[in-house]
């Protein structure tokens, strides 16, 4: 929070000139549950990626899918749609 500007530093009406600056809003702070992939069941089909409404799921070096937790809001759609049911949701406070 300390890196965010104080109100005196805001330009009037808050216009934005920097392209893609919304990337800096780490809206994943809203999340209460995070998706966990079970690699024993995952077939790397990418259905979770296609259904993610935040488009925040991508493949890692081994080809497995994972969520970018800066933006993942824990909606659970990936868990619902996974054909092998390899995704489970874990409470953030655990």
């Amino acid at each position: 929070m300390s890196s965010l500007p104080g109100y005196k530093a805001l330009p009037p009406g808050c216009p934005v000139q920097e392209p893609l600056s919304a990337h800096r809003n780490h809206t994943g702070s809203w999340r209460s549950e995070r998706p966990i992939w079970n690699h024993d069941l995952c077939v790397q089909c990418g259905v979770c990626d296609m259904f993610c409404p935040e488009a925040c799921i991508g493949q890692n070096d081994q080809g497995y899918y994972e969520a970018n937790l800066d933006y993942c809001k824990g909606c659970g759609i990936c868990m619902q749609e996974c054909p092998t049911q390899c995704i489970s949701m874990k409470q953030e406070e655990e």
Binding site: L4, P5, Y7, L10, P11, P12, G13, C14, P15, N25
Partner: protein, 391 residues
Amino acid sequence: MGTRKGMEVSIGIAEAAMMADVDVVSAYPITPQTHVVEHLSELVADGVLDAEFVPVESEHSAMSACCGSVAAGARTFTATSSQGLALMHEILFIASGMRLPMVMAVANRSLSAPISIWNDHGDVMANRDTGWIQVFVENGQEAFDHIIWSYRVAEDHGVLLPIMVNFDGFILSHVVEPIEVWSPEEVKQFLPPYDPPYRLDVDNPWTFGPVGIPDIYLETRAAHNEALIDSQKVMEKAWDELHEVVGRKYAALECYKTDDADIVFLTMGGISETCMTSVDQMRDQGKKVGVIRLRMWRPFPFAEVAKELGGRKVVLAVDRCLSTGGPGGPVASEIKAALYHLDKRPHVVEFIAGLGGRDVTIGNFMEMYDKGAAVAAGAALPPYELVGVRE
């Protein structure tokens, strides 16, 4: 030097917008504002005013079009009234929150139901907290001057806020008055061209109206609030400059025969002139009474109100709006808020007068004075009174 002409106040407001060299007018006609935009439409159609007149299907669209045109860097004017202002409500917050300096003349009219086209301040009071600068004028000259003045204030880079100029429907809008029309040189001297700090431009793109997530929304409100409060300094400076250019002196409050007054009326808008006439008559009877008229409503001039009202015995607060089920009148509530911290506070006797175009007469003001004098002599403070209501 200006030229003195007899003209309908609505036509005067349209002529003032033309003299301010507006680039865009977008408005929807509604009684009693119609003559303002009708005349502007004629001026554009006749080629007298080089501007875009954007006809729209509603006031919601009118205000939306105005937001777009100001963001594109155009000097923009609109006008409305009553239900039209109510329909604009949503976009009024967007205009002020995006800090888009435009000027809107509001011909104040009561709200339905029942349907009423007549004058009171119910329409603007329902839009009190929209974050706009709001002033109330008393006559045609003041209306004319304040259209040009409003552009000078709104477009100041320290302000960048939209302004509502409130003038009473019919009581002012449809009355022919002598108005001194500024000379083009006077307008040029007083009002620089609009120079927005940023604008919608395909070659230099900006995003206007982005999302404000919880991490930033609070700060935007704080900045808007501070800008609105601080705009008072710019308003006062612009009034001083207006005085230098055309010789008429304006301020946040206008005091009439108040120097030795124990009892003062507190009024807004056109009825203030009737009130002054009644004060003249009561002064002839030896009563120490005066009128303080609130010209500036947002930002609210707390310090000036406390200074001018603080030492009085009784304030007769005359509202043109009823806060239904609430404390009475919205103006009286704020007057009380401005006086609350003082050690010695006047009694504030509250009257709601002239709702839905009911006449407010000299006799009404005389009766209000008598009630205030009774309170000054020790009578219990009555609850707010709806002046002239039949039981």
